[in-house]
Symmetry: C2
Subunit: 175 residues, 2 copies
Amino acid sequence: MNRKLSLNELERMSLEDYQKEEKLPIRVILENVRSLSNVGSVFRTCDAFKVDRLILTGITGKPPHREIQRTALGAAESVSWAHVDALDESITEAKAEGYSVYAIEQSTDSIPLHELTFSGKGLCLIFGNEVDGVSQDTIDKCDGVVEIPQSGTKHSLNVSVAAGAVLWEVYKSFL
Amino acid sequence: MNRKLSLNELERMSLEDYQKEEKLPIRVILENVRSLSNVGSVFRTCDAFKVDRLILTGITGKPPHREIQRTALGAAESVSWAHVDALDESITEAKAEGYSVYAIEQSTDSIPLHELTFSGKGLCLIFGNEVDGVSQDTIDKCDGVVEIPQSGTKHSLNVSVAAGAVLWEVYKSFL
């Protein structure tokens, strides 16, 4: 008998407890993500997988915004986030903290997602614009590129779906 | 040097070749998914991970629809799909074909996603409504429930993000 859990049984943390809780050494940077509903969805995923910080860069929209709230469902309050115009500083900062920095892209020397090993103090993962992906300039500043292997006619996933698959893969290594 | 691949280098299959190609024994059922952009996004993920069929049930919208197309980006043409009013038949059919049928939910006896093992001829995965999830009636007809382990204040992911994480986990076992 598989009985669905009620909301009360989910052992969801209160906002206050969550904010005090130690997060996982996983950082997410969004580069020029245009869709506010994608931004909100990534907030929600970062809440679920205990990401330590979400950094919104360039044209990426930031809270408070109704469109973000519609998909974030409160996660813009629980997840620690910042908005910076240029992401170079965020990469430098993450590296200084001992994080390995990876762009999620399809490139000549990318590592397939299932072969990504957790090394260093933490992982900083950069997801790019819906059409253009992560810029070559940003890739050049990263420690490497991680690619989600896929078949199909598109060879591309929605950015919030890609973030879900990658963050799940990384989160899992802490279980 | 990690050079971003151009569209031409992605070795994307043509629509015609993709339709002829043998798919993986992974089937997806959406139960009463309300958002057309979620439906479109799931189409795109099913294209990427070679899902054999996507079954839209109940109030779940179906192509052709501009809102689905906006996030499916053509995957409604490449992915084999059907719309049925009642999903009971789809479950019976999948079981008759040797597929193990799992609801993605949080329940008393759920299997954590990373412990899901591929058994039988294939896997049929049911994702539910944005607010209500998969119904208890449907869960009662499944072989089991798979849960995405997560922390956080929400204990819930956007349905298209959840589908991305689950389908990546299953697709990976074929790599």
